[in-house]
């Protein structure tokens, strides 16, 4: 592994603000379950941030709930901020609350109905994860959680590569994480209509 762009990120931290392309949806469209704007990548908040793109309907995403719970427990101890991101505009707060109760998910949560975070992370499917270094605008890692889903519909008995876990460890250590060994497999995050 090599050192990742620490200088660049420090520069961003110092700047403390972001530029958005003309016509891009506002970051204020990222809202928590009370409808209050809430940016998981707020540069004023220190530490590594992990965005976990999930959906209430996607069975692959749902099957990862126990894995996400387990990772999140570890990250709390490590000071890593993990967020559940619901990019489907049809996933309203009531559906998300019911979903989280059903699957015992209790992480901080935002909706991203205008796909601001989807675009910033480069996420394509649920479940997929993005890891951001402290204050970084660009994701240091984006991709699958692990290699358990080998192909669409083909699930291994157990994962042999735990890429998200390893990526978070790398970013915490100030290293560039390895790219995932394969694409994230899941439910496509549909283009907005």
């Amino acid at each position: 592994m090599t050192r990742w762009g620490l200088a660049a990120s420090l520069g961003l931290l110092a700047c403390g603000e972001r530029t958005e392309p003309l016509g891009a949806p506002a970051r204020s469209s990222i809202v928590d379950l009370q409808g209050t704007p809430h940016d998981p990548l707020d540069p004023a908040v220190p530490g590594v941030a992990v965005l976990l793109f999930v959906s209430t309907e996607c069975p692959i995403s749902n099957r990862y709930a126990p894995t996400l719970r387990s990772l999140a427990r570890q990250w709390v101890d490590d000071g890593v901020r993990a967020w559940l991101i619901y990019p489907d505009p049809d996933d309203d707060p009531a559906a998300i609350r019911a979903h989280q109760a059903e699957y015992s998910l209790s992480l901080p949560t935002v909706r991203d109905p205008r796909h601001v975070l989807v675009a910033q992370a480069g996420a394509r499917v649920t479940p997929e994860a993005a890891v951001f270094g402290p204050g970084a605008v660009a994701a240091a890692y984006v991709g699958r959680i692990d290699d358990r889903v080998a192909e669409r519909g083909k699930v291994r008995a157990q994962a042999s590569a735990h890429e998200l876990r390893d990526a978070v460890r790398a970013v915490r250590a100030g290293l560039a994480p390895a790219a995932a060994g394969g694409p994230a497999i899941g439910c496509t995050i549909s283009d907005l209509r």
Partner: protein
């Protein structure tokens, strides 16, 4: 709702992202065109080849495709994720629909086109796939939604109508939130008939698996031996785990199962199967953890036939146990074959392998050397195993040979490989072992030939089993269980000398081996060597004083040896351990009758009939002793 009410103007089945969803009503596998064939403009009357619409719209093209072949699974409460019941529903997932149909991961259908035409096939033609792809490329144009077809409402109740008998798996089984897939066998006792002695024949079974989002598929079998009850009792949760059926069989040769989206067959009286009193139905469900704990309760709806069947069937299982897969081996082949001794029709196929199966092929060679393809699966997927029922049964004349060739990939490149790194894998029933099976539902053209076909296939099967245990014994010569099992198969084949040699081999490793002592005792008894028989059976009783069967067998030998007092003692001990042993009641009664104790004999013949109502000799004995008492 009948699947016949679904529009059939176009063909497509799809579902998304690896969920247990096999969509679409039962249709022949020949794909219909995405657009209705236009007449040849030259007026020749020949339909033109279907083409992809230049500007497909949801209303004019896509709705019919999706509602026909996706919505049967993808509806609220259906087995597939995402309800596709409106333009908005479909448009929200348009990109993925195009992806999964283009890469052919949906619809989930394993057989290659060509060899067989199967009921309920979920196949798409290229024009249909491209119609969807173009629709998405062009921005998922809705068209005139007022003119779009509407989806038929999903069936809420029993699809075959109210059943004559509804059975349930009972208390919920709690499927864990996480972990590997679960194979759970639920044991459902068949209730006795409403009027004793009147046979019941089942025309159709509709399986309602509970929440179809976690049930991947199900297979129903029937156990007449009582062995599954024993396994069920050993597991504190409802049912028991495992991929094998522990003695349960396809009832009267008929395949029964459930796959998402597959419509239950209404069956026919002619092909009904007998529901035997005191038997157990065994429903094996392949369950896929969903991320949360899920209670699983399934129901069976039985429809009885009005009359006994007239077209008997046989389930035949071609298989190979010669599976030896070194780690890294990417193309290992195993084969089996069987030559039918009478004219038959193959009605359905059920191929089976585990995670390392890669390619499977079945075919027949007719007596005139012509080859008839039966099934080809180029990319086997354990998760989508299914029954393939021919639209037109395959007729094979006497002397035709059915072949199977299974190919395995135990390399790290096989995404299904459950072991990382790959490990050495051999034949066995666990999911980390491998199997190669082709189960066929076969009907003899002449129903009178069923017995001959059954006996001929049984000889082949017993020979295969004996060969398997001979191989296992060469690998593990000190394993008394393997030697005893070899003895049992040789005994069933009628090879008494080979059976005795195998049992003695087992006793050489373990002189107290229960099965070997009991079975060798039985063999010696059959040969008239009563002293040697009694010696082995006494040893068996000493080894397992709390098991009923050794007492029963010893009692039989003692009775034949002319020691009725001790025989009676062991019959009574056997019955004290298991009062349901109808044979012990019967044999004790015979012994009592011979000594003149007619009332005691009457009591135990009555118990024998009670526990074994289908054994004619018990009833005959009971009638005789009754007549003697009346005199």
């Amino acid at each position: 709702m009948s699947s016949d009410s679904w529009p059939r103007a176009a063909l497509l089945a799809m579902s998304l992202a690896g969920s247990p969803s096999a969509c679409g009503p039962d249709l022949p596998s020949r794909a219909e065109p995405a657009t209705a064939p236009a007449r040849d403009p030259a007026g020749g009357g020949t339909p033109a080849e279907p083409t992809v619409p230049v500007e497909p719209t949801f209303a004019a093209h896509v709705a019919a495709i999706v509602y026909t072949h996706c919505t049967p699974c993808h509806h609220q409460g259906g087995s597939g994720p995402f309800a596709f019941e409106s333009f908005d529903d479909v448009a929200d997932h348009a990109t993925q629909i195009a992806e999964v149909t283009a890469d052919k991961s949906m619809p989930p259908w394993l057989p290659s086109a060509g060899p067989g035409v199967f009921v309920g096939a979920r196949t798409l033609d290229e024009v249909t796939r491209q119609t969807l792809a173009r629709w998405v490329e062009q921005g998922a144009v809705p068209g005139d939604l007022n003119a779009a077809p509407a989806p038929s409402p999903p069936s809420g109740g029993w699809q075959l109508g109210p059943p004559d008998l509804v059975l349930s798996t009972g208390a919920p089984f709690e499927l864990p939130a996480d972990g590997t897939d679960v194979y759970r066998n639920f044991v459902i006792p068949a209730p006795p008939p409403s009027s004793p002695g009147s046979p019941r024949f089942v025309r159709a079974v509709e399986i309602r698996p509970g929440d179809p989002r976690v049930v991947h598929h199900g297979v129903l079998r029937v156990d007449l031996t009582g062995s599954v009850r024993h396994l069920d009792a050993q597991d504190p949760a409802p049912g028991f785990d495992g991929m094998v059926f522990a003695g349960a069989r396809m009832p009267d040769g008929r395949f029964l199962g459930w796959t998402p989206g597959k419509r239950p067959s209404p069956g026919s009286d002619a092909r009904a199967w007998r529901l035997v009193g005191d038997s157990d139905l065994v429903l094996q469900l392949h369950l896929r953890p969903s991320g949360k704990v899920e209670p699983v309760v399934a129901q069976l709806g039985l429809h009885f036939a009005a009359r006994p069947p007239t077209l008997p069937a046989l389930s035949m299982e071609l298989s190979s146990s010669e599976i030896d897969l070194p780690p890294g081996a990417s193309d290992v082949r195993v084969r089996d074959r069987y030559t039918v001794p009478v004219d038959v029709a193959i009605r359905s196929l059920y191929p089976h392998a585990h995670y390392l199966g890669r390619r499977i092929e079945a075919w027949a060679v007719l007596p005139d050397r012509t080859r008839r393809e039966l099934l080809l699966i180029e990319d086997w997927d354990f998760d989508w195993q299914d029954e393939y029922r021919f639209v037109r049964p395959v007729r094979l004349p006497k002397g035709s040979t059915i072949h199977m060739e299974w190919r395995f990939d135990n390399s790290a490149q096989n995404p299904h490989n459950p072991s990382s790194p790959p490990r050495h894998v051999t034949y066995g029933p666990a999911s980390t072992d491998e199997m190669a099976e082709l189960i066929l539902e076969v009907e003899p053209d002449d129903p009178r030939h069923l017995v001959a076909l059954d006996e001929d296939f049984r000889r082949k099967w017993l020979g295969d089993q004996a060969a398997l245990y001979q191989r296992l014994l060469r690998r593990s010569p000190d394993d008394p269980d393997v030697a005893a099992n070899l003895g049992a198969f040789e005994q069933l084949r009628g090879n008494v000398d080979a059976a005795v040699a195998a049992y003695e081999h087992a006793l050489g490793s373990d002189p107290d081996h229960l099965q070997a002592n009991v079975e060798l005792g039985i063999v010696r008894m059959g040969a008239g060597e009563l002293s040697r028989a009694v010696w082995h059976l006494r040893r068996a009783v000493a080894v397992a004083p709390n098991e009923a069967r050794p007492h029963l067998t010893l009692a039989n030998a003692l009775r034949k040896q002319g020691q009725p007092d001790e025989a009676i003692e062991h019959y009574r001990r056997a019955l004290a351990l298991d009062d349901g042993l109808s044979q012990a009641h019967n044999n004790l009664a015979i012994t009592l009758e011979a000594r003149g104790d007619l009332r005691g004999a009457l009591r135990h013949f009555s118990r024998a009939v009670e526990h074994g109502p289908n054994t004619a000799v018990f009833a005959k004995n009971l009638a005789r002793v009754r007549a003697r008492l009346e005199r």
